[in-house]
Amino acid sequence: MGFKDYCFRKSLWVFHFGGASCNNCDIEILDCLTPRHDLERFGILLVGSIRHADVLLVNGSINMRDKDRLLELYHQAPKPLLVVAIGACGCTGGIFAEGMTFAGPVDKIIPVDAYIPGCPPKPEAIIAGIVKLAGKK
């Protein structure tokens, strides 16, 4: 078992960064925590500070104002860190990619480990993505 696997062996703590999004992805992420889907049964917990997080979820297109803040968060995070881009916006910029303030997509700014496409992805898809990522050796 490598060092990285060792770090991600137990409960993953997740920090959620919402860029210039339409909120749907954010809501579906929160929805994962509520009784129907209940992510916490996998030990996955949403935390309030990036310094406690193992996973950084990024959704929404990243505009010029968000870009520096995202970078700063990435630098503040303890490594190793898994970065997950959620939704069409997170993966490619989606419908906002031609916008005048667009500065992304996420993978141009920080390295991304997993992409969960969809607009918005269903909570099931988000859970499947994170579980797959956690199980990857």
């Binding site: 960064f17 339409c22 909120n23 929160l30 509520t34 803040r69």
Partner: protein
């Protein structure tokens, strides 16, 4: 001289339409001034809209806000249909209203949950979000997606609601109604919720008029406005319903208005599906060959208030200018009135009351000492303050357990 403290809340509240940075200036525990900054969520939608065809703009405007993803297409359709000067078929009108009202139920439930979370009632949060799921299931059944429904187009709707699905919809609505009963009972009867929300964040009738607030925020202060009645569109003039108002203008009144509005929405949906059942399937869209030159305005009542779209057409296949005004834009200005003079714990609640979505503030909020720039309170401590207040109230016997 007393020491002034600056508490920034934000900039990222992903559950709001517009992520913003609020700066609360505090003297001790009392908020003395509030300022806000916007732009963190700027995506250039109005400009983007000019590069898309009328059919594509619908997909764009429904992505302005995920929670109101029907209100914007609604207003845009009203605006374009004003330019073309067509009246859509009755079946399309009913379908539009059904989607609009389902959205209102899901949005209000979401707000009730988040308000509960802010009060330290995570049970309410979990319940409300659990009971939101049947609404989303209905959406998935009718439109094929849980959010962002892509139902609207110029001249009608994209998909029909088959008559064979109507009994299932009726059954679901009955279930949802029961859940709303349960939730309303739990919120309305709880003495601690009364103690935390009554008399907090009061907006008088005059404040609402001065700031031009709209939607449930205005209706909770006795201002009787609702676009659905005042400037009728879709099927709203064809069904029976009433505009809910309250007089007190505090957080409790806002909760009351929203909870009671959900019943009206449920009743509108029931009347609409009854009407659909009697109609022939398939008559849902008109053929629109071209969009002539002209100006059009469209209004719609979103869960949070009036959405306004203004479209200029030059006869080509994309808008020459598209102006959008969302309800939160005016509602947010009322913070100047509702928060000043409150304690910090109550101010966060008043903020949450005006705009339904205020869940994620805690992640980035922190309090700084203005003179030294040292951090004194972080987000979790702020939330903890609010929680502490609730538990104190509980202990002091305001709540009987």
């Amino acid at each position: 001289m007393s020491r002034k403290t600056l508490i920034p809340i934000g900039p990222y509240h992903p559950l709001q339409e517009e992520p913003e940075l609020f700066k609360l200036y505090c003297d001790g525990e009392i908020v003395t001034d509030i300022k806000w900054e916007t732009g963190y969520n700027h995506r250039g939608i109005e400009k983007l809209s000019e590069s898309k065809s009328y059919d594509q703009v619908f997909f764009l405007v429904e992505r302005i806000c995920g929670i109101c993803s029907t209100s914007h297409p609604f207003a845009f359709a009203n605006a374009v249909e004003e330019i073309v000067a067509v009246e859509i078929t009755d079946r399309a009108k009913y379908i539009r209203s059904i989607i609009g009202e389902l959205e209102r139920i899901h949005s209000h439930l979401l707000w009730v949950g988040l308000a509960g979370h802010f009060l330290g009632y995570n049970t309410v949060f979990m319940w409300a979000w659990k009971y939101r799921e049947p609404v989303l299931d209905l959406f998935e059944m009718i439109t094929g997606n849980r959010n962002s429904y892509a139902m609207f187009k110029v001249g009608g709707v994209r998909r029909d609601i088959e008559n064979s699905k109507i009994p299932a919809i009726r059954k679901e609505i009955a279930v949802i109604r029961k859940k709303i009963d349960l939730l309303t009972g739990a919120v309305m009867d709880d003495p601690v919720i009364h103690a935390r929300t009554k008399g907090v964040g009061i907006l008088t009738r005059q404040d609402i008029i001065d700031y031009g607030a709209v939607g449930p925020t205005a209706r909770a202060s006795g201002v009787d406005i609702d676009v659905r009645r005042d400037d009728p569109y879709a099927a709203y003039p064809l069904v029976n319903w009433k505009v809910i108002t309250a007089q007190a203008g505090d957080v409790f009144a806002k909760a009351e208005v929203r909870l009671l509005e959900m019943y009206e929405s449920a009743s509108i949906i029931e009347q609409c599906i009854d009407a659909l059942e009697k109609m022939k399937e398939g008559d849902i869209t008109l053929k629109i060959n071209e969009i002539p030159e002209g100006l059009g305005t469209g209004r719609a009542e979103a869960p949070r208030g009036e959405v306004f779209h203004f479209v200029v057409s030059d006869g080509s296949n994309s808008p020459a200018r598209h102006k959008i005004r969302a309800p939160s834009y005016t509602n947010i200005a009322t913070f100047k009135k509702s928060c000043i003079g409150q304690t910090i714990a109550d101010a966060t609640l008043s903020l949450a009351a005006v705009d339904p979505c205020y869940c994620c503030t805690e992640r980035m909020a922190a309090a700084y000492d203005n003179s030294s720039g040292k951090k004194i309170l972080n987000a979790n401590e702020l939330i903890a303050l609010s929680l502490k207040r609730t538990s104190e109230l509980r202990k002091s016997g305001t709540g009987h357990e």
